[in-house]
Amino acid sequence: MSAYEISIISIIGINVILAVSLNMISGFCGQISLGHGAFFGAGAYAAALTMTGKGGVPLAIVAALITGSLLGVIVGFASLRVRTDFLAVTTIGVNFLFVGFVRKQTWLGGEMGISGIPPTGLGAAGNMVMILLFAAATIALSLYISRSWMGFAFRAVGEDEGAAATLGINSGAYKLAAFGIGTALAGLAGGLYTFFTQFITVDAFDFIFSVMLMAMVVIGGIGSTWGVVVAAVGLTLLPEAIRFVNDYRLLVFGGLLVLVIRLAPGGLTAMVQNLFLAVRRS
């Protein structure tokens, strides 16, 4: 495998983890979060600080998970206070706040970011394997949750909080759980990203990146784990497959987002299901 292929596959793995984890918050539990980049960034910075402090890979992963999750639970508390559409604005705010804060912190490298992060010692191919293993684990966890009692409770809270409450579901606890798990995984993705690049700046974690993650979830079919995985792989490969797209990346992402929602608000999953039904009927 060439170095280029290894790096593309690594990025795909990271994006799959991010999109699937965002889907747990926004798809399963109906809490629209447009600030997933901030949790990704928090994990990346935590891992970077651990690695430059000679903490080693396992400790960096733990630090990334915990930092992402901590920030996520704090934002989760906000989700208990405000309605879903207010929450969307609040999470945008969290993303801007994160970027604005890091830019001004000299101990986080400010605008320049953190460079010279020690390698994991696994090599590029080893890193890729580690990323893919974590991505597989994330998908497995997502599938498991979606079929578990917790997954049903998430969906109930996402569909209709009042009705869920009458069934004895503590919606606050489940919202916090969705944020806690989803953002822990985003933090993990951040840690893996740090191992992969060995150099981070805050620009990688801005609001636009969060929008791209949301695009993956929506285009894949909000709530569907496999749909989101397919969309994450597809939308990561798209700029690579067609070179010219890279210059017009945002145009294409924005356009796809508008088109898919306008033509098939359920995303690819609903489109495939409808196609399947149509074929069976005929």
């Binding site: 969307a88 609040t90 604005g100 609001f207 924005g254």
Partner: protein, 289 residues
């Protein structure tokens, strides 16, 4: 004197935010959609102002062109994007709106370039007045005066004319307004037209203030406008005006006191999050247009 300078900056920014956000808050009041793409309308207004201003040599004509073009664009967004999506959850049209904004910003970048475009002649931007130590720029005065005229006009329109009263009625009680024979669809068109024109004026003024329109012009301002309408208690014009001025002032003073810690935009969102935690329903709470 320094603190008064900051107040001048804060108030002028507040007036600009107010012109941006009123359209948004009215869209929310009518349709329950967070109209993120309003920022693209704002940016379009800024671009048209500069392009026509440069082509004709008259900035005034630039503004005129902007308030003609942007309402059409705003109405097109409603008709082509939002209307078919109204039957879905409110976050569906909102995400479509985010997509449209990202697409538009990138389209501006591709057409007009990364560096943006400037006015050929904009003496206005560099004129300043000195009132016993307090420096005020001509553009700041223009922003405050425009906002004052626009909002007085809007107030008279919505309280003295039949169309305006019908509009107000539809925003606050859609069913009852419809039962009185007010056409809700016409109100929506009016709403997108007026809101977009206001955003375009704000965009043109920001272009003057910076003497530059770049592809990112709408981005940050738009999210601030969202923060403002949430703070103002979605759907309330009065709340939005208050929240705009408060945010303008918080930003102006905030950059002095905690500027070493956070940048200007982060301060605005910190204020948003703190205030939302204290008052989740916004400043006014109730929906009154």
């Amino acid at each position: 004197m320094y603190y008064i300078d900051l107040a001048v900056t804060g108030i002028s920014f507040g007036c600009m935010y107010a012109m941006m956000s009123v359209g948004l808050t009215l869209v929310y009041g009518l349709l329950r959609i967070l109209h993120v793409a309003h920022a693209a309308v704002f940016a379009l207004g800024a671009y048209v102002t500069v392009l026509v201003g440069n082509a004709t040599g008259s900035i005034l004509l630039g503004f005129l062109a902007a308030v003609i073009v942007t309402p059409l664009f705003g109405i097109a967004i409603y008709r082509l994007l939002y209307e078919p999506l109204l039957k879905y959850r409110p976050d569906v049209p909102m995400i479509a709106s985010v997509g449209l904004l990202v697409l538009m910003q990138d389209a501006f970048r591709i057409v007009f370039g990364e560096q943006g475009i400037t006015f050929h002649r904009n003496a206005f931007a560099f004129t300043t007045f000195n009132f016993s130590g307090v420096t005020v720029s001509a553009v700041q005065i223009a922003i405050v005066m425009t906002a004052a005229v626009v909002f007085t006009g809007l107030h008279l329109f919505t309280t003295r004319t039949r169309i305006g009263i019908g509009w107000r009625a539809t925003v606050s009680r859609p069913q009852i307004a419809a039962s009185f024979g007010i056409d809700p669809i016409k109100v929506r068109y009016l709403n997108f037209a007026v809101g977009s024109a206001l955003a375009a004026v704000a965009g043109g003024l920001v272009a003057e203030l910076n003497n530059l329109v770049d592809p990112g012009i709408g981005f940050v301002v738009s999210y601030k406008a969202l923060a403002i309408i949430v703070l103002g208690g979605l759907g309330s014009v009065r709340g939005t005006l208050i929240a705009s001025l408060v945010l303008g002032l918080v930003e102006a003073y905030g950059t002095i006191f905690i500027g070493a810690w956070l940048d200007r935009d982060a301060i605005a969102f910190l204020a948003l999050i703190v205030l939302l935690m204290i008052r989740p329903q916004g400043f006014t709470g109730a929906r009154t247009a």
